[in-house]
Each structure stands twice: as C-alpha cells, then as structure tokens.
Amino acid sequence: MTEKANESRRNFLYLAAGGLGGVAAAATIVPFIGSMLPAADTLAASKTEYDVTTVAAGQLVVILWQGKPVFITNRTPELLKEVDGHDDMLKDKDSKAIPEVSQPWMNDPDRVKYRSIKPEYLVVSAICTHLGCIPGYKPTAGRKDWGDSVPADWPGGWHCPCHGSKYDISGRVINGSPAPFNLHALPYKYTSDTTVLIG
C-alpha cells in the first residue's frame, strides 16, 4: 500500500467515524431536552370545564386554566352598556393587533365588541399583557366607587396594580397604559347551555 492511499483512507475513516459519532451525540440531546418539556399528564390537564351559572350577576371569578389565571365575569345589562362609547380611548378596539387577542369564534361584530360568545359571560385571560400581573376589577364607570385611583373618564373595567395598565369591561387596553395589547382571548366553547370548555 502506498503512503498516499493509506493517508486518504485514514482521513475518510476518521471523518466518517467522527461525523457519525457527532451525529449520535447530537441525537442524544433530543430525549434530554424533550424530557424537560411539559409531560403528557401536564398536557392532558390543558382543558378546563366551568359552569358559568355559578358566577352571580356582576361577579368576577378567577379560575386556573393550564396553570394560568382566567377571568370569568357575569356582566349585567348596565355593565354591558359600558362596552360602548369610548372607542377613541382604545389602542385596539377590534382586537386585531396580534393573533392572541382574537379567536375564530369572534365571527360577528357583537362578539368582537363584547369579546365573548354569550355577551354577558366574558371569559378572558387574566394576565396583564404588560408584565403578567392580574389586574384589579373596577367594573363601574367613573370615580364614584374608585376615587381618584382611576381617571375621571374611567369607562369601567380592570386596573392593574403593578404598573397601572387599564382595560375596559371587554378586556381591551386603554390608551396611556404601559400594556401593549388587549387581554388575550381564549379558545373556548359552550359544551352545554351553561358549561364552557376552555382549551
């Protein structure tokens, strides 16, 4: 065997063995990283059922869905009226800015405005889109119930205790808030007249 043939054969074997070894080592990373992702039982817990009739008129209930807080409110006719009349104060009145603030079920103007399937029951993410706190519920309009913690033209809705972000009674962010987006809309449906299934 000549010295030159020997060299190229060696280099080939060296690269082939080393390359395949490298591929195998890289493939080994997959199960280890994979194991850190949510486990099957965690994913199975990704749906939450809730009976909305347990929410009294005007009441706010916070429940957990996938470990994250969700607002469910039973909006009285008076609260539903607060949805209108302040469109000029909203950053994104039609929930179009990013995909997360709308859902396929928002398929007519009323559902876009009320951001709910049945107008009275609002089911919406309770995570402030600024830095993740849960905003406080200040449903009535004006300063009557809230003093000067809210602006004079307060339309009623949520006011975040962390950095002062404000949302209206449909969870739409109000101008001047540090929060960039409306509260995220959730993928839910009614499985019966009174039961919603989130997820």
Binding site: P31, F32, G34, S35, A39, A40, T42
Partner: protein, 405 residues
Amino acid sequence: MLNSMMKTKIFAWVDRRTDAGAIIKSQLTEYPAPKNLNYMWNFGSLALLVLVLQILTGVFLAMYYKPSAAVSYGQYTVAFDSVERIMRDVNFGWLIRYMHAVGASAFFVVVYMHIGRGLYYGSYKEPRELLWIIGVVILLIMQGAAFFGYLLPWGQMSFWGATVITNLFGALPVIGEYLQQLLRGGFAVGDPTLNRFFSLHYLFPLLLAAIVGGHIHALHVVHSNNPEGIDLTKEEEKIMFHPYYTVKDAFGVGVFLLFYCYFVFFNPHAWGYFIEVDNYVPANALSTPPHIAPVWYLTPWYTILRSFPDKLVGVLAMGGSLAILFALPFLDRSKVRSARYRPVFKQMVILFFIDVIVLGYCGHEPPTPVLKLVGQVATAYYFAFFFLLLIVPKFEKTKPVPEGI
C-alpha cells in the same frame, strides 16, 4: 483535530491564562502509555463514561422524581407514583430511567472487569498501592450510591432491601441501635429515610467525580501497568496516549454502547437482574416479599453475610471482605506483578474470579441447604485467597519476566 484546535488564536488566549496547552501535552498528546496494553485496559475509560451517563440521566430524573413516602391519591405513595409518571407521562422518561437503571448495572460490570484486570496483572503493587486504595474507596462509594438509589422507587424490594441493610448496622454492639436510628431517621425505614437517601444519592456521585479525579491523577503520576507487569524504561516501549489510546478507548466505547443500548432498548430488566420485578409492587411495611435478594452486583457480599450462623460475625465478615481489599497491596509481597509469570497465583486468581461469581449466584438464589454450603465454601476461599497471598511468594517458582516489550 486537536492539533489544529491548539493553533487557534482563542486557544492561545486561553493558554496564556491557564497553561491549557501544557496540561493537554502532559496528560494526552505527550503522555506516554505502554504500547502493549490489551483490551482489558479499556474498562477504566468505560467506567468514566458510565459515571458521566449516570450523573447526566440522574440530574434529569431528579427534575421529576419526588422523594416522599406520603400516601398519594391512588393509595400508592408520592415517590412510587412519581417514578411511574416518569415512565408513562414524561417525554422520554422511560428512556432516561432505563438508561439510569441499566447504567447502574453497567457501571458495576465495567468496574468489576477493571478491578479483575488490576488483580490479574498485579496493578495494585508498588508503586501503585495508593492508586489501588483510591479505587477501593471508589468501589465503596459506588456501592453506597447504588444502595441509596435503590430505595428511591419505594417498591417492595427498595423497602425491604433498605430495611435489611440498615438492620446490619443494628447488629453492631453498643452503638448499633443508635447507628440504625441515625441512618433511618426513625424506628423503621420510612419517609425520613427516603428523603435522606435521596439527598445522599445526589451527593455520592459528586464525591465519586472528585475521587475519580484523584484516581486519574494518581495514575498519571505512577503511569499504567501493562500485561507483562514490568517497568518500562525504554522510549520505544511507549506510545502517546493521544491519538493511540483515545482511538482505542473510543472503539471500546462503541462496543460497550452496543451492549448498553441492547439492554436499554430491548431488555431493560435483564431477566430480573437489573430491575427486580417485585420492585413494581409498592412498598408495604406490613408484608415482606417471599424471596428477597439484593441486585446482582451486591449478591457476593450478601452471600458472605449469610454464610455465618452468628449475626454479628456475618456483618463483620461482610465488612471485612470489602475492607481486606485495602490491605491487598501489602499482603502480596511477590516482586513479580503479572499473573503471566506467576503460575500458582494465576490459578489462584482465576479460581478467585470463579469464586466471586459463585458467591454472586448463591446470593441471588433462595438459600437452600446445598447452596448454603456452597456459599460457605466460596466464602472460605474468598478469605483464603488473600491470606494465601502472604505465603505464596515463599514457594512459588515464578517464570522469568521479559527484559522489555
């Protein structure tokens, strides 16, 4: 590849601050190793590989394992359920757990081969006595780590194995009961025991990693023994560790992984040798399984324990059978290292290997009268081997060792 890497600017920057180049040279590229090492010398690097695999898989298992004996929703325990959750729900959890369980057995396979190699070729003799002694410390810590780990699934074998072993310490006079409570954190194996065993199971591999570093350092001071067991004085008898033995070790890793992957993917229980079937029954403090035996790598010592009719003597004999390994370099005074040139020692050491396998078999099986007798004979030879080494050099006619290789 190493050479071209060492020529880069980044390496030069690191080198000026750490002297990395000198370390690589003295430990790898200019570290001389005997040119006649056979495949028995692969098991050291394999042991290091398995240690790394065990630490890696263990860290990921600890992300999901919960060391609690509290009763869970399904009337099992939190610990047992968390292991089953790893098996069923965690992505690749089955793979990582089987890698860890098979890895425990694989660790002992390669380490026992490594120790057998050292025995056969006289690697424990001057100047490598301390290297051997550090190795025995590693073995003891490994056995401790394996024992602690075996409790964690909180199955029947976990529970009763830990009960039996902690009772061993109770056999000691005066301090026995105190020591037992110290280990268990209670009057029986229970939730506090599980918590501390998990803590120690995480600690021991860290100790191992440090002591393995010391083992390798000691090796690189006195250098490798070789199959001829002679001191190598001439330069042409040696080759550089890198690339020659890095490549040979890499080949050994490939062969090892074939076997390892066979067991991990196709036979993780290894017919009940690696994972005992009874351990899938949740721990029950009210009922002992009909047949209880440790995992295979501890059975030789278990046989020594039960070969003695007196509890205390049995416990001391078992401790002594491990402790005597520390004394080995000083018991065997023969100037010739390798069994190749020691006809009497060669037969003794091969019989010793068979003896340990027989001890292991006896410890794994239920104790019938015949097996008990076999175990007692094997125990007698186990100790006789070490004490015969004191007198063998006085009459053994060794063959002439070669001048060089």
